[in-house]
């Protein structure tokens, strides 16, 4: 096995923009007998996964599913879910993943909005209408049946949709992002530049299949002949159980949100865990701060595993930039998200011009990884995926970055989390981090509340840490005063009567729900 390193980006070829099932076919041809998948205590070779998913595709074709169709997938993480996902693509259709733990109303919305032609897994309380439903057991039974030929006829085209993942904004209905095969396949071709992945790697599927970080976790190994290891359902809730699983399975590539990584780091340091197999930790999904990686770096260094900060959005095939965390990063305020994996980008200031080096602006992404838009939402698609005067189609990320002289980008935060208050530009997440640094606080949300017209003030809602007492306003004020300038001090602090912050299905804080609970609490005490 090669040493984990991070090299520069790779020059892309036209044929990198291809179909995910062709990516898999190439791997099957090279490594037919290598392990492809470990799940529920069993391991499947590439040949086995290939024939199994052929059988799924044949079954779907019998049910009338064909090219351009959409198929809902609602199964707990496991071998059948992976075989189904591949089978749906082999049938020429796009998969629409549904989180098992979602409220039925949300899954119902997604099933109706995406107009699926078949449903794989357990619809639970979801009304599927007249479409055929194939239970997980039926998919599992296909394993024991004699191999069948995959459906005849042309397979999907690189421009066909591979999957539709629903994301929620802070307001409005969830929207389905149409990601074509070519966009996703480009991600894996581009990742061969910086990463030294090989067939001896073991990748962990940690995230829900309804969250697009899972696309990276699943197709990373399938594109390189490595082994995909599925974390048993429920394990992700216990950092301790996770670490044991990662150690026992010899996981080499681990993808994490900074929040989950922090929890794991504390367990690893407490129990003096050894993870000699681990080669890469890939961060995505949230802003990575130096505070998150410092305790880990102090114990394990930064060379093995390599910690890779990646920035990405569902609308541009999961991940768009990469940066290996270095010693220098640990002393900075903002971590670099590094350079682009593929395509090009603009950074646009709030007055609409190109940002100079060192100047902050919104990141616009272009290139082969950019998605087709939002299903059935032409106006929103036109707004978020504009074609600029340079003739290039971009995705406006809503994320603020600072271009650096070396062609890399520093990440600032979400544009909608940056406010201007009485002339000061304020990053709300910076205040949240400061409040959370108090030992009795588990989590905090800060926003600008308009008390009366002309009376806008920062307010903070927080969750008291488990087993701790509510410190109350005065100690929190004193604590924040130590860390931040006065224009960043919240005027009010209020504990929410909840064990943890409300979150959306993707694990992000549901800020609208926080504000509603805060308002209810405020009305009770007025």
């Amino acid at each position: 096995m090669t040493l984990p390193t991070i090299a520069g980006p790779r020059t892309l070829r036209d044929d990198d923009h291809r179909v995910l099932t062709d990516v898999l076919a190439a791997t099957v041809e090279r490594f037919p007998d290598r392990p492809a998948l470990t799940a529920d205590g069993a391991t499947y070779t590439y040949r086995r996964l290939d024939t199994w998913s052929d059988a799924v595709a044949a079954l779907l074709a019998e049910l009338g599913v064909g090219r351009g169709d959409r198929v809902a997938l609602r199964m707990p993480p496991g071998a059948a879910a992976i075989a189904s996902m591949i089978g749906i693509m082999k049938a020429g259709a796009a998969y629409v993943p549904l989180e098992v733990r979602n409220p039925p109303s949300r899954n119902q919305y997604i099933v109706s909005d995406s107009a699926v032609t078949a449903f794989l897994g357990d619809p639970a309380e979801c009304e599927t209408g007249p479409v055929p439903v194939v239970p997980e057991e039926r998919i599992t039974r296909l394993l024991a049946e004699p191999p069948v030929a995959p459906p005849a006829g042309p397979g999907p085209d690189p421009r066909d949709t591979a999957y539709i993942i629903y994301t929620s904004g802070t307001t409005g209905r969830p929207k389905g992002v149409l990601v074509p095969h070519g966009a996703a396949a480009t991600l894996f071709a581009a990742a061969q530049g910086p990463f030294a992945f090989d067939e001896y790697d073991s990748w962990l599927l940690f995230h829900s299949i309804a969250f697009d970080f899972s696309v990276w976790e699943i197709w990373g190994p399938l594109a390189t002949g490595a082994r995909l290891v599925v974390l048993p359902p429920g394990t992700s809730r216990s950092p301790e159980a996770c670490m044991h699983f990662i150690a026992d399975e010899g996981i080499t590539v681990l993808s994490q949100t900074p929040t989950a990584f922090s929890a794991m780091t504390s367990i690893v340091l407490r129990d003096q865990f050894a993870l000699p197999a681990l080669r890469y930790v890939v961060f995505g999904g949230e802003k990575l701060t130096p505070e998150t990686v410092r305790p880990w770096a102090k114990q394990f260094g930064l060379s093995s595993p390599v910690l890779v900060n990646m920035y990405g959005v569902t609308e541009a095939a999961v991940l768009s930039t990469f940066h290996a965390v270095s010693e220098d990063d640990l002393d900075t305020d903002t971590l670099s998200i590094g350079r682009l994996l593929s395509g090009s980008a603009r950074v646009v200031t709030d007055t609409g011009r190109e940002a100079a080096v060192g100047e902050q602006g919104e990141l616009w992404l272009a290139g082969p990884q950019v998605a087709d838009g939002y299903l059935g939402r032409p106006e929103l698609t036109a707004e978020r995926f504009p074609t600029h005067t340079d003739g290039i189609r971009y995705y406006r990320t809503g994320d603020l970055v600072v271009p650096r002289p070396d062609g890399t980008y520093g990440y600032v935060g979400r544009a909608d989390l940056q406010v201007k208050l009485r002339g000061h530009r304020i990053e709300l997440s910076d205040i949240e981090v400061a409040v959370q640094a108090h030992q009795d606080i588990a989590d905090a949300v800060v926003w600008v509340h308009t008390f009366k017209p002309g009376d806008d003030r920062l307010v903070c809602a927080y969750i008291v840490a488990e087993g701790a007492e509510d410190p109350g306003t005065r100690p929190l004020r004193a604590h924040v005063k130590e860390l931040l300038p006065s224009y960043m001090h919240p005027s009010s602090y209020r504990a929410l009567p909840l064990p943890h912050l409300p979150r959306t299905v993707n694990g992000k804080v549901d800020r609208a729900a926080v504000a509603r609970t805060w308002e209810e609490e405020r009305n009770q005490t007025r």
Binding site: R422, D455, R474, S491, R522, R526
Partner: protein, 91 residues
């Protein structure tokens, strides 16, 4: 830290200041040693506070003192000005 003024007017202005700040900021836990700025006070609220003071006591707070010192000092500065205005020969 401040020398407690013995006069009834000083007491009254301090109490009123605390009440108004608590009401305007929706912050029940306000003390004389707090700073208006650190409690989240800003210029629009300061103007409102000044109007309250003018209506009841006949003059406004000194904004510089209000923003840079404690609530006690802002109240006492107003007391001192009102007292001086009432007894110009003592000034």
């Amino acid at each position: 830290m401040s020398t407690a003024p013995a006069t009834a007017l000083a007491e009254e202005i301090r109490t009123a200041t605390l009440e108004w700040v608590a009401e305007l900021l929706e912050e029940p836990d306000v003390e004389l040693q707090d700073s208006f700025l650190e409690l989240g006070g800003h210029s629009a609220l300061a103007l409102q506070l000044g109007e309250y003071a003018k209506e009841r006591f006949g003059d406004e707070y000194d904004l510089l003192v209000l923003f840079e010192k404690t609530l006690a000092e802002a109240a006492d500065e107003l007391t001192a000005r009102l007292t001086a205005a009432a007894h110009p020969e003592a000034a």
